[in-house]
Each structure stands twice: as C-alpha cells, then as structure tokens.
Symmetry: C2
C-alpha cells in the first residue's frame, strides 16, 4: 500500500475515454497525434479519481441541530430515542419528491468532485418503505445519468426500523425480503445490499436473513459492522463472503482474522468517528499489518458524517489512524475500486482503464492529507472528459 | 457568545465601503437608491468575514515530509533536534527572495478567502535574522496592498533560536531587542510583538525582556503561551497586559484566573492540536464559563497547522472543544476583531463598520461547523467590494 508508482514529470495518453499509455512526458509526447487535445496540469499532481466506497448521498434536510446537541452532551442513543437520528431524516426524505431529492443530491454532488472523487458508492436507507427506498435508488440512477461522476448503488433497506415498525422487527424484515428486495433486483436498481448489523439495530441473525435473500437475487453484500460492539458484524461478513465490512471501530483480533481468511475488505470511516466527537478509531495499522486491503471512505450522511471530502478523510487517516499518505491514497483509489468490483476499470491510471483523473492543487501527493480542511481539486475528468473545472485565484 | 443577532431574510445597505444599515429585506429596500448595486445572496447566509487572529502565512516550502514522520511516531522534539521543525522552514525562507515569498503567500491567500476570512493577523518568525525578519514583514505589507484581504502584522523574531545562535540565547535576545525591534518599529512594519514563550523555547524571563522592549517602542503584545507546559506563559501575558495569550492547551486555573483579571483574550488553536496528532485541547468551555472573550484562529503554518480554513477550526471547536456554532462564530469574528484592536471596524455587520462580509453556501449558520472539510465561501467582500467570487456547479 506504500507504493503509488509515482511518475515524476509524468504524462498520460487518453483515447476513447480510456488510458492508453502513461510514462514520462518525453515518452508520451512521441505518441501524441496532431489533433490531440492537450491538458496541461501545470506541474501539479494528477491522481486517479478517488473512489468513495461508502456514502449515503440522497436525503432531505440536514441534522445540524442534532449535531450541536450531541456536541453539548446528548448521546446518539438519546437523540434516537426521541425520534431523532436516522428516523428524522427518514421522515423528511419520505416527504420530499423524487425531483427535490435529485436536485439536492446534485447540488451536494459537487462537494465530492471538489475533493477529487469520481466514483461514489451510494446507499439508500432513508426511505424504509417500498416506495421511498425505490425512490432513493432511482435518484441514484439519475445522478449517474449525465456521466459526470460514477455511482454504484447499494440497497440499505435495513438501515433502521421505521417509526411504523417499532418493536416489529420481524415484520419489517419480511417487508425488506419479500417486497423491497425483489423490486430492487427486478428493476436492477442496486448492485449491492447492505445492512446496519449491530446487536442494538439489526442483530446478526436478522441481518443474515436479509443478506442471504439479497444474495439469492444476485446482489453482492457490504455491511455496517462492529461500529458500537465487537466482532458479530465482521464474523457475519466473513461467513457470507461479503465484499466489505464497514466501520469496524470495535473489531477485535477474532473479527480481523475472520475478515482476512474470507478476503473481506475493511472499509474504514474515520470522518464519522470524528464527527460523532468520539476517539474510538478503527485499528487501521493492525489491519494493514495483517495484510488486509484496507479501504477509506467518507460515510457522507447527515447524521454521523457530514463530509463528502476524501482529502478530509486522508487527513484523519494521517492524524488519527497513523496511515501514510501513500497508504491512504491506495486505500481510497485502487483498494476502494476493487471493493466495488471495479478494480479492472478504475482506481488507478493503467492502460485500458477509464481515464478518471483529477488535477490537484498540490506539488506533491503528501500535501493531500497535510494541507487539510480545503478542497484541492482543480479539474475532474471522467472517461477523459472534463466534468468539473474549478476556478483558482 | 451565543447571541449572533441573526436577521432572518435580512439585508444590508452599504455605502462608501461601510455598513450603513442592516435589517429585514423589507426595511432595507425602502432606502435603496435607483443606482445602487444589488447583491443577491440567493437565500444563503451572510456573515461578517472571519478574523483569523493567529497565523504564520509567509514561508517557503512545506513540511509535508515531517508531518508524515510525526504521524509515524517521530516526536516534534526529535524532529527539531536534528534541525527539522521551525528551523528547516527558516533555512528555506531565508533563501527565498522577497518576490518568491510574496508570490507563494498570494497563492495561499486564496485559501483563507475560500473559508470566508477577510482579516488575517500575520506573524513573521521564519527569518530569525534582521534582514529576513524585515523581508517577511514587507511581504505582509505587500499582501495587504491590493486591499483584497486585510492584514495585521506581528513581529515574532523570538519564534525559535536560529542555527547560528544555538546555546547563545542571550546574544539572540540582544539581536532581537537592539536591532530587529527598533527597525520594525521605525519602519512601522508591525503593530504587535509576539514571543514563543515556553520553558523549553523562550522561558518567561527571556520573553519578558523582548516584550517589554517592544512595548517601550509602542508595539502591543500577543504571546504563544502554555502550549506544552502550564501557566508560565499566561501569567506573563497577564503581567504585561498582553492583548492575547495564544494556544493555552496546558493552562490551569491559576493561568485562567490571571488572564481574566488582566483582561487578556485567549486565542485557541485547535487545528494545531489536531494536526500534531494530539488530544490535549484547550479547556474552551471552562474559559467561556469564566467569562473570557475566547478567540478561535487557524494558526496556519507549515509545521503544526497546515490549514487556513476557519470553517475547519469551527468544526474542531464543535467536535473537540464542545463549543456551539454561535459561540465559535463569535470567537472568530467580533471577539477576534477586538483582540486585534479592530473591534470598532470589523468582526460584525454594524453601522459604520467596514462592509467586510461573506456569502456562504449554507442555509443556516449551524451548517458551517457541521458540513466539514469543504470551502463554503461563495463570495467575499471587503469594504463593500467583491474581492473573490468562487464558482459553483
């Protein structure tokens, strides 16, 4: 994870939206045809676009009020108990029209781009009814339609119990398995299925029911695991052969060993630890030492992680997870791409892959976690086409 | 500090670069003349520009390499002992020409603006020779010349002992007092004098010599105090009637009480705690409870705080210092302006003050610390003139 294959004074030849050749500028210039469009990065670093492998980008409203209450001492559990938390976003997201949700999500999409992200895993989970979950997944599909950024959709119907199913978990699980999942699969609205697996939310035996049903329908599996308690989530992820187990703030040696044996990738979300005002960060260094292909993601959502910035995540990975810049860039590009089944298409600038690349306002890649709290991307390209160009004074 | 005087659906009349009237849109519209220029904030929040009261914005190079070493376990002291730290920036800053320093500092100036800052306290301290210190202060003067952002200059000759004065502290103090300070005062290059007061850097008895000499020359005093050890810095700040005591991560009850009695404002720098990978944050809540007029600032510098973003500082103030959004906005606007002797001119949008204001991409001021890791400013005005306008997709 420490070898980025940096090419000093590098260049890249792109044809038909894909990388044809990378090398030094002198090597590449020999192959440039007269009618080629030249993009001059001005000596700045060019990186593959970040692949943000865990986000919840479609929701109505904010939870800036709860954020402030939490910082003043209210716990996440207390806020949830009086109808706040995920359920308050669910109420607003249900009320919003599909067009409103799309407009809001499009407005926030630029935040990802400003940080240099080109591929976004996008979960549903603020609908929690058949129609509202499908509505969110259609918004994800429509976000992807103009090709500016790429989306990979994940169905997260089992994110929380909705108000009308309080103390009726089995009935809600039945709704997810019997109605939501078949519709999602039939309409091909998601590639992955996720569950918030936690003894206090959806315990492993319930999560298993949902995820196995998803697998029977051809969906692949990612999981919210071990955020508040150890190992039951990671053990289930290993048992089911999930692509990823996400969060892992409480995962112990047994959970890590299970992930390693089953080749499940850990997706670490330090921004949500930070924004919850917690200090319980996942044991990234131990996971890397075990050889796990660690992924970093924003967890962008209105409750625990209101940031869409991968550079912010890289900063937290440095200061809190003690990862090097090279490790965190690997974790948020090529490792993340593999976790989404896109390892052959993006996550690195290699021959044949999509030309998804970003010019950052940095002289050295190590400046990405170092100069923190800013938006470094100057230009964002997907399939070789400029999707966003940001002004610079 | 919790009352921002928010005007919902507000408007403001500006004349000759100053605020003439604020109120609801209906109230203001009655006074708008036919030839007035209308700036429509589109329902977004408008704030007074942030006043960043502690920065080191003029330096050559970065220390991204040391940042990474520190995250891997090297201590600040170890890095300093082998010639790294402040001294490595000093070597590069001495070598750089005045024009080079100005160009680099201008390039980084936009980072402050993107966060919504309009006034910047700027310290020297990476020169540590007569000529190099004066060079830095001239760069600060030249940064201010175009009026895009405001600067308040602080002379920090006693920032560290330069290589050629190792174990000759008294000789260096003499250089600062007898040569640097008189030149700085004669050329009117700084309004304040600061010292890095710390038993292991410049102990109080040495800091006192420098600061009293500065006071005799008509400079006001700010101080680096109690960053690594308790109270000796804050006690000296109180004794000298300093405008501010900055850092205060280790200040105890005696130091706080001394600050309160002497009316010294605490300037808290949570971004440097964060970027050092530390968890020892200053006791902001206790200071606020004592009635101290707390200030927040970035401490922008290449070693301990490579961020120029006040919104990032507001985020850290929420998650780590447990300050509300209103408290942290007060701390970074009006309280900060008073700490720089500019309380009558900026820091709030009140009749007669400079029309230094910023349109942020937020519907509610509480989104500033909440949506973190991004640059929220869309348009930055100083004296009623648009200094920066940032594109939005």
């Amino acid at each position: 994870m420490r070898d980025l294959g940096v090419i000093p004074a590098g260049a890249m030849l792109v044809r038909d939206g894909r990388v044809e050749l990378t090398g030094t500028r002198a090597e590449i210039e020999r192959w440039v045809s007269a009618d080629a469009e030249i993009v001059d990065a001005g000596g700045r670093i060019v990186l593959p676009g970040f692949v943000d492998a865990h986000t919840h980008p479609v929701f109505a409203g904010t939870r800036a009020d709860e954020f402030e209450e939490r910082m003043q001492g209210a716990t996440y559990a207390e806020i949830a108990a009086r109808g706040g938390g995920i359920r308050s976003t669910v109420r607003r997201t249900r009320e919003a029209s599909e067009a409103e949700l799309l407009e809001t999500a499009r407005r926030r999409r630029v935040w990802f781009a400003r940080g240099g992200t080109t591929t976004i895993e996008a979960k549903s989970g603020y609908g929690l009814s058949v129609e509202a979950e499908l509505k969110i997944l259609r918004v994800v599909r429509d976000l992807a339609a103009d090709g500016k950024l790429r989306y990979v959709a994940t169905f997260l119907g089992a994110h929380e119990l909705p108000d009308e199913y309080r103390s009726r978990m089995d009935a809600y699980i039945a709704l997810v398995v019997e109605e939501m999942l078949p519709r999602v699969a039939a309409e091909r609205l998601a590639e992955y299925c996720d569950v918030f697996c936690e003894p206090s939310v959806f315990p492993p035996q319930k999560a298993r029911v949902v995820l196995q049903a998803a697998q029977r329908l051809g969906l692949k599996v990612r999981m919210h695991a071990d955020q508040f308690s150890a190992d039951s989530g990671s053990l289930l992820a290993a048992e089911l052969g999930a692509a990823t187990a996400d969060h892992l703030e409480r995962t112990g040696p047994a959970g890590m060993e299970a992930l390693r044996k089953a080749n499940v990738q850990p997706v670490l979300l330090p921004a949500s630890v930070y924004a919850l005002g917690s200090n319980t960060y996942p044991a990234a260094r131990r996971m890397i030492d075990l050889g796990l292909a660690v992924v970093l993601a924003t967890d962008f959502n209105p409750g625990s992680s209101p940031t869409a910035s991968m550079p912010m995540v890289l900063s937290l990975a440095a200061t809190q997870l003690k990862m090097t810049a090279a490790e965190s860039i690997t974790a948020s590009t090529i490792n993340a791409a593999y976790s989404l089944g896109r390892g052959g298409e993006c996550g690195s600038l290699e021959r044949g892959k999509w030309a998804d690349f970003v010019v950052h306002d940095c002289d050295d890649y190590r400046e990405l976690p170092y100069f923190f709290g800013r938006d470094p991307a100057r230009a964002v390209y997907t399939s070789g086409t400029c999707a966003y160009k940001f002004s610079e004074y």
